[in-house]
Symmetry: C3
Subunit: 304 residues, 3 copies
């Protein structure tokens, strides 16, 4: 069974098929649910609300059985390694494991040693492929494609596992990526051009704000909430200078009054909650693909 570790591993064709499939789940639901008991383990070693629950909802909507692993009550407390824990879950019947872990690249030593499908739900400052896919779906729903679009990634670029994936894949799909944020948090290895915050706001079709990853900083107090908001946040004033049709995105959880003015979170441009909604259908498509299922018999078969 295939793993989903980062989008770098997937062909553009596969990405497009996953988006098509997610849209189909959104439009028509999963008409037939799985009948045999198929188990998926959810292992979240870092806090999560939307990723964890959107995977759980996706699993249940497909008729899969979720096993919710909790770090604090498991044998990892007795020193069991992640590999051994996954081998256990594999023996108990899990066909896939959805994992969020603070260690970047946690899956590297695992991927060739397990017979279940590993789905990376966020590894440290590394990747977060299902988030990138739902971002792509959100953009595609808005603009029907990616070619010629300008997408601004703004904020804590260096610690964000979303920024890198999004910048890479959007560039590959034909969008122009522009980057903006405090120089201390620049990430030179990303594709894209650095511009001022004002230029980013005024030229982007998609303003993709990034969360300040305070839990990944070593207490480097560059900003107060207010000084960050004034320097790099989407203020009420900046929003007015966005292009007429431009939209706002944020992977969330967002800090109100920091990356974005609280009043803008649900404004007409905001697709922030739409992103979460799309997340369920993206994760249904990922699980169907990873498990080799074919949930609804219909014309656009998944031929991966």
């Amino acid at each position: 069974m295939p793993h989903l570790l980062s989008l770098t591993d997937l062909s553009v064709h596969t990405i497009e098929e996953l988006l098509t499939r997610a849209q189909a789940f959104q439009d028509r639901g999963a008409e037939q649910r799985v009948r045999e008991p198929i188990f998926v383990a959810n292992l979240f070693f870092e806090p999560s609300t939307r990723t964890r629950f959107s995977f759980e909802v996706a699993e249940k909507r497909l008729g899969l059985n979720a096993l919710n692993f909790d770090d604090t009550t498991s044998s990892t407390q007795k020193g069991e390694t992640l590999y051994d824990t996954l081998r256990v879950l594999e023996e108990l019947g899990a066909k896939a494991a959805v994992i969020r872990h603070s260690e970047q690249g946690f899956y590297e030593p695992l991927q060739d040693r397990l017979h279940l499908s590993l789905i990376n739900a966020g590894d440290g400052s590394g990747h977060h492929p299902s988030q990138t896919l739902l971002d792509l779906l959100t953009i595609q729903q808005e603009f029907s494609g990616f070619k010629g679009l300008t997408v601004a990634m703004i904020g804590d670029l260096r610690h964000s596992r979303v920024a890198r994936s999004n910048a890479e894949i959007l560039t590959k799909l034909g969008a122009s990526v522009i980057l903006s944020g405090p120089p201390e948090w620049h990430a030179p290895e990303f594709p894209g051009t650095y511009v001022s915050i004002e230029e980013a706001i005024e030229t982007a079709d998609v303003v993709n704000l990034l969360r300040i990853q305070t839990e990944r900083h070593d207490g480097e107090g560059l900003f107060t909430k207010e000084t960050y908001h004034q320097a790099y946040g989407l203020t009420l004033e900046r929003e007015k200078r966005m292009k007429a049709h431009a939209i706002i995105m944020h992977p969330a959880p967002f800090n109100r009054g920091v990356e974005i003015a609280s009043e803008l979170v649900e404004c007409r441009r905001s697709r922030i909650f739409k992103q979460m909604h799309n997340g369920v259908h993206i994760r249904m498509a990922i699980l169907e693909w990873a498990l080799g299922l074919n949930i609804i018999p219909q014309h656009f078969q998944l031929s991966i």
Copy 2:
């Protein structure tokens, strides 16, 4: 979809219909379960066994899907607000949210801003409507009604979210409410007459004991366990002076040897575990009502 925040919001007619419906679930079960995947989120920010699990059992008996939110592993750890967390769950597909929270009136700023049904499972020292409903069902099963009954609420009146609701609604339904307990814990705003503990015990048809809410006191050590028991507890001796047909109730968890002599917890008068049993069917009725479902096609349709 309607919220269930406190019983004050419900008409007597709606309360009666919920009781009838709960009795029907108890007598005949939920013959048809929901087929479409419908999600209900359970968010317990304070410890709970019976309320949390009786909602979960009720959900599963109706064929609903439970999403069990855990504060300690969610993005509330990253500072996400309750409103934003609920908006996430709404976007992921939750149609109702069952919430227990330490903050009294936590739902006030939420109720007009969400499209899911909010079900208050206890807010600080505020309300606990599903507990009051199951108390009503327990009394109704015993006495076939409320008119003319004398119900004594005894103990920590001021900090109890059960006492207030029960006193209000029982009065409305025609019962006489008498109150007893340490003067420091009196709650002058409740309907009902204060009487001595001895008069309460001897004249009540229902002796409704209340838990000492030590987690809501600021270390005010008015009593030891033993002195409370002697002063306001249901001792073996006091039980003998209850009316022949009178019953004992307690919202639980009870402190054995404090509010009630340990030997009386399961005595012939006690309806304490019956209350818990009724709690499942009450919560089935609440969920059916809140979600606008109609589980069993039968003569007494819910016409709310």
Copy 3:
């Protein structure tokens, strides 16, 4: 409904039927799943991965509903006793409770007072009957029986709840049990003969290693990892002196490089992950028996 507290309570006949039934579930699955909602509560007061999840998988494969009780978020935080917690779960509809608890014999005061089936999933240094049953199934699959086999139990005998049950029941079933380990951890009351680690390794058909239960020692630092490994561990060198057909077992979680050389965990002799796999089917058989179910209509009916 019967309890499963220790294997001492079960007849050899019942044990054999449970093994037969587990094998049937492994070979053919549970063809018919339960249709009525039947609830099983899982209460793990100590960390667990494999026991907890194999019970949960077993429950779901049988079509049962799992209620996962979490000590840290329940009313045990408000001082509720284990008996009262179980009475609550019983009233809410649980027909069985799977319990792991640090207190040896926690079930003694409970067993005659509850109407649900108690399934002991490990009590302190006491018993762990489902682990012993899955060990028996693993041995039976290998050797088609127990008579004449030599089984070596090696390591922390005194604190292991697996060692005692295994030694007792294997002796009863006709196997020879030999014991080896640090004298400080000997358990004189076990059936079996103490031998040197070298003799144990060279004469056993089954080398059953035991986990060092550091959480049950009072900081008695008898060994470093390395000195234990050299003195009583299954080193690469010792494995070479095992009998040609001999197998390795361990209840897990194992400490790599302590009880067993890391390289041997998945060697051709190791049945460690097979044990976990068998655990699911054993627990299906236990639940079917405890709940009085009869899942698949087939020739070998359970006549207990």
